[in-house]
């Protein structure tokens, strides 16, 4: 036709929006800002880095486009219309509005004898293991809803944890943690861990971490069996432990209101935060690693920014357990009530959904199922699961975690996971530090005053050392005095050199006007009159 049509302003706006959205995505995929190359003087390096930056830009754009166009399914949502409130929307109503296959997903399993129950998912969200306090262990395939194995260990079960895949899992029992395979056969007994209260598996490092009743934190390598670390927390008995998925740092909540963070290679906690006035009852970390939620007996749920270690949101509520979903929803349980919070913008967590169990049920654990809009609840009389629209990641990556993986794919992934096993040293607060160059520390020059103080301390210390009693006249007062004098001089000497380097004269009194010529107005204050 060749005639330019007038562009619709609405269409223009839509176009603008999509461009903005695309730019946001590109920023996310380029993983941080580009380096500033204009300051570089080395032409060769500049050329190389320019090429690299260009490549990063191209790949980020390609990834953003792939995300926009190629993702197979859309995430879940729950959108109110008019005056409706999402938290008034009950499970029955949700179940009435969703498709048939999703209707089958929520369930209530009533097992009153062996509870309360704790539960755990594999990282791909396909398998669930439940552990009843009185020794009941069950493993289920949540895709087909089949029971894979169920058995009794006939002693107290405190926690359960999957190892790298569903083939093996660990159970914290009365005295020790044990490892079982999916047939229910006992593989190992981990006696060194002692009476473990909580277990967490660091899947990239193949480390099983446990906290025992003496407050000892153990790390054991599950691929070699080697005990990597044994840290005494010194903060007493606790069963609040969570691993931060972003950096594999372990967060512990203590009875004195502190939350401490640990890595296997340091015996001291990396961070100690005073979070609550009273017991910390639950800790949870967000997938992105920047947010932590804690709940305490002081009836507060706090959201922390882990980059600044500051509270960004406080909510007055009790919680026995907390969990962040993949999309950042926060589940909290209090008695028989389960509340789901959602970030309403600017870390303002508002109640999104509420679910009340039958009165008298005590909810012990809430856990979102990865890659599904489901939250599972372990409570005193069994376990249940509810639908939480918008909680899970809709699209999985076959090479990261695959909820529909075959046995062959699982084996392949196991081999790759072992090849890429990270060393315990790579657990650190900022995992992006690897490969970076640390800024050189400025060499601190001591001030005169500091050196003077140091000299004083050294002299003081030298004077206060006791001289041994000696015989044959070597302990005469004169000898002693002489010895002490020598001692003092010896202590002083290295520091005196330092002091002279700075330009001070410790022995002499400062004489104003000795060397520097004073301005005329000040000369009359000088001791020796200047001519």
């Amino acid at each position: 036709m060749g005639i330019a049509t007038e562009e619709d302003p609405k269409e223009m706006k839509n176009h603008q929006n999509s461009v903005d959205e695309m730019e946001m995505k590109v920023v996310r995929f380029s993983r941080g800002k580009a380096a500033n190359l204009s300051a570089l003087r080395d032409k060769k390096l500049k050329g190389q880095l320019t090429g690299k930056e260009k490549l990063i830009g191209i790949s980020a754009k390609a990834a953003a486009q792939a995300e926009k166009w190629f993702l197979p399914i859309e995430g879940g949502y729950l959108e109110p219309e008019g005056l409706e409130k999402t938290y008034r929307y009950t499970q029955e109503q949700i179940r009435g509005d969703v498709d048939i296959s999703s209707k089958r997903k929520p369930f209530d399993m009533i097992l009153p004898e062996l509870g309360p129950y704790t539960l755990e998912y594999t990282s791909n969200g396909r398998y669930m293991i439940v552990g009843g306090r009185k020794g009941h262990i069950g493993m289920m395939d949540m895709l087909s809803m089949n029971l894979i194995k169920e058995f009794q260990v006939r002693e107290t079960v405190r926690d359960v944890a999957f190892l790298h895949n569903e083939q093996l899992f660990a159970v914290a029992q009365k005295k020790y943690p044990y490892i079982y395979n999916h047939h229910g056969t006992e593989i190992h007994c981990l006696k060194e861990h002692g009476k473990a209260l909580k277990l967490q598996f660091l899947d990239k490092h193949f480390l099983l971490a446990s906290i025992n009743s003496f407050g000892q934190l153990h790390y054991q390598d599950m691929s070699t069996g080697e005990m990597i670390a044994n840290h005494r927390t010194g903060l007493g008995h606790t069963d609040v432990m969570r691993v931060n998925p972003y950096n594999a740092v372990i967060g512990l909540g203590h009875a004195d209101g502190k939350v401490t963070m640990w890595k296997p290679t340091s015996v001291k906690p990396l961070v100690t935060m005073l979070c609550h006035n009273g017991h910390v009852t639950a800790v949870a970390f967000e997938r992105g690693g920047h947010l932590m939620a804690t709940a305490g007996l002081d009836k507060k749920i706090k959201i922390w920014d882990l980059r600044k270690y500051e509270v960004v949101h406080t909510h007055a509520a009790r919680a026995e357990s907390l969990d962040f979903s993949q999309k950042g929803l926060l589940a909290a349980s209090d008695g028989s009530l389960v509340e789901i919070y959602r970030d309403a913008g600017g870390h303002d967590y508002k109640v999104y959904l509420k679910h009340r169990m039958v009165k008298g049920y005590q909810v012990g654990k809430v856990l979102f199922r990865p890659y599904e809009d489901i939250c599972s609840i372990g409570h005193s009389t069994g376990f249940s699961s509810i639908l939480v629209p918008g909680s899970g990641e809709a699209n999985f990556d076959t090479f990261v975690e695959n909820p529909v993986e075959t046995a062959k794919q699982r084996r392949e992934r196991e081999v790759h996971a072992l090849l890429n096993k990270l060393q315990p040293e790579t657990v650190m607060l900022n995992p992006n530090m690897i490969g970076n160059v640390r800024q050189p520390k400025k060499k601190e020059n001591k001030t005169k005053k500091e050196v003077e103080e140091e000299i004083e301390d050294a002299v003081e210390a030298a004077k206060s050392t006791k001289v041994k009693n000696k015989t044959k006249g070597r302990s005469k007062p004169s000898k002693r005095a002489k010895k002490k004098e020598e001692e003092v001089l010896r202590a002083k000497r290295p520091l005196l050199d330092q002091y002279n380097e700075i330009g001070g004269h410790p022995d002499k009194k400062q004489r104003v006007g000795d060397k520097a010529e004073l301005p005329k107005a000040l000369q009359r204050f000088a001791k020796n009159k200047q001519s």
Binding site: R28, F29, R31, A63, A66, E67, F70, P72, I73, E74, G75, G76, Y77, L78, E79, E81, E84, T86, Y89, I94, V98, D99, S101, S102, L143, K204, P245, Y246, N247, A248, R287, G288, G289, Q326, Y371, E372, D373, L387, P389, G392, E393, A394, N395, F396, D397, T398, F399, V400, P403, V404, T406, Q409, N420, K421, L422, Q423, T426, P431, N432, G435
Partner: protein
């Protein structure tokens, strides 16, 4: 209220029949991959280790000569062919793929010093200390026609006797002209029994000659008066000359950047020059512990190989100051000549122990047909390795090279000597009047003058 929850039908995400390929879904969201950098670093570390484990560069030795191999020539039309000449006057054509002699070209009375092939591959030119240049027509005939028994293939199509012993020969790629060097530089035509042109600059022996791959009339020689000389056939006299402190045994132009060339020097270093700017070397390639005897560029122009009197073959990047690889075997003696094959995958070295040795140019490369997935994986591993190469653990593994004890020790002594020299120079500078001793970069230190 609008509600939707994630609902995946398993059928959409798994294959229908067992013969089908598994379905693959990608989500590039960085949030799904935690600790990416640590994982990449681990992969890079493993790749560096694997590379060292699989580094088996030596493919095989080709024996047959009964004296030291003195020179080699490759044929641009046949990737698997290689000519070699030895000190006893024997010339052989080798099939590299089969690692066998295809035929021999007898005739020379003394050592063969130079071999070259014409661009179309139909002519082999050899010259030696017996003062003859021999032209062998159609040298590849035996290679094409395999049913003949191995033996002396042919008589030379022409034998030109001249006044002096020859040290090297190179063929021009453009016309039927070749240059020989010895006491002087002679330019020959295929059909003329006497040189068509002769150059002389100084009375010393010229050791090697190479035509420029870009400009056919320009040639470069190195001679025993420690000079590198540029000639232009269109002019009646040589163009430029650079005198160094020690002599260069061999020169080679960079085929991709034909203004640049590299000279293998007697002082254990190789010097890369820009022919337009001879007052300083672009790069000094260090590493050998004895005189470098020969140098040859990869056809890609990104790296070159050197053979040395210290019994090692080394590969350098065209701009790298130290070698990327060091090849040696227990039995390999002093290396006199090295060549890259035309596909850039293999090296051939000829040494004093009468053998030609075949090497891979990338020590841990998998030979043979590689599936696209394998190739992609290798590319990925190379990329992560390059990305984390600055980290101490990876660099340590990557840099580690096992050397025979004598070479290692010689290198250590050399380093100590260089260090002592620089220390001395530093002290001299410190104790002389400021500005009276100028610091000279190493790129200029071994050059004396440039003569026009």
């Amino acid at each position: 209220m609008r509600v939707k929850v994630i609902s995946r039908s398993t059928d959409d995400f798994t294959r229908e029949r067992s013969q089908d390929l598994q379905k693959v879904f990608r989500n590039y969201d960085p949030a799904l991959r935690s600790q990416e950098k640590a994982v990449e670093y681990t992969r890079a570390l493993n790749a560096a280790k694997l590379e060292k484990i699989f580094a088996r560069p030596f493919i095989g030795a080709m024996d047959g000569h009964i004296d030291a191999v003195s020179c080699m020539a490759k044929n641009s039309n046949y990737v698997k062919a290689m000519f070699s000449g030895s000190m006893d006057g024997d010339i052989r054509l080798w099939d590299i793929a089969a690692r066998k002699t295809v035929c021999q070209f007898p005739g020379h009375q003394g050592a063969v010093r130079g071999l070259a092939t014409s661009t179309d591959g139909d002519l082999l030119i050899s010259c030696g200390v017996d003062c003859t240049v021999r032209l062998w027509k159609d040298p590849m005939r035996k290679m094409m026609d395999t049913n003949d028994a191995i033996g002396d293939a042919s008589q030379p199509s022409a034998v030109y006797t001249w006044k002096h012993a020859f040290w090297g020969v190179d063929h021009q790629w453009d016309r039927n002209v070749f240059a020989t060097v010895g006491a002087q530089v002679d330019i020959w035509d295929h059909n003329r029994s006497e040189p068509i042109n002769t150059f002389e600059w100084g009375k010393d022996t010229v050791l090697s000659v190479r035509f420029n791959p870009g400009e056919p009339d320009v040639l470069l020689t190195s001679s025993s008066d420690r000079s590198l000389t540029l000639f232009d056939l269109r002019m009646s006299s040589p163009a430029r000359k650079l005198i160094m402190k020690t002599r260069c045994n061999s020169v080679c132009w960079n085929p991709r950047e034909p203004m640049n060339f590299t000279a293998a020097n007697e002082d254990t270093n190789c010097y890369s020059f820009d022919a337009r700017k001879l007052n300083e070397a672009k790069v000094v390639h260090k590493g050998h512990v004895s005189a470098v005897m020969d140098v040859d560029y990869n056809p890609t122009g990104r790296e070159f190989v050197t053979g040395s009197y210290d019994r090692t073959v080394r590969i350098f990047n065209y701009n790298g100051d130290h070698s990327r690889e060091i090849y040696h075997t227990k039995r390999m003696q002093r290396v006199f000549c090295v060549k890259y094959t035309y596909d850039g995958t293999y090296l051939v070295s000829g040494s004093d122990d009468t053998n030609l040795r075949l090497w891979k140019s990338k020590a841990s490369e998998q030979l043979g047909v590689i599936l696209p997935r394998e190739r992609k994986k290798q590319e990925y591993l190379d990329a992560v390795k390059a990305r984390y190469n600055h980290l101490p653990e990876i660099r340590r593994i990557d840099k580690h090279k096992h050397l025979p004890k004598p070479i290692y020790k010689a290198g250590k002594i050399r380093r100590a000597m260089i260090e002592a020299e620089s220390r001395k120079e530093e002290r001299r500078r410190a104790h002389s009047a400021p500005g009276s001793r100028t610091m000279q970069p190493f790129r200029k230190r071994r050059l004396i003058t440039e003569v026009e």
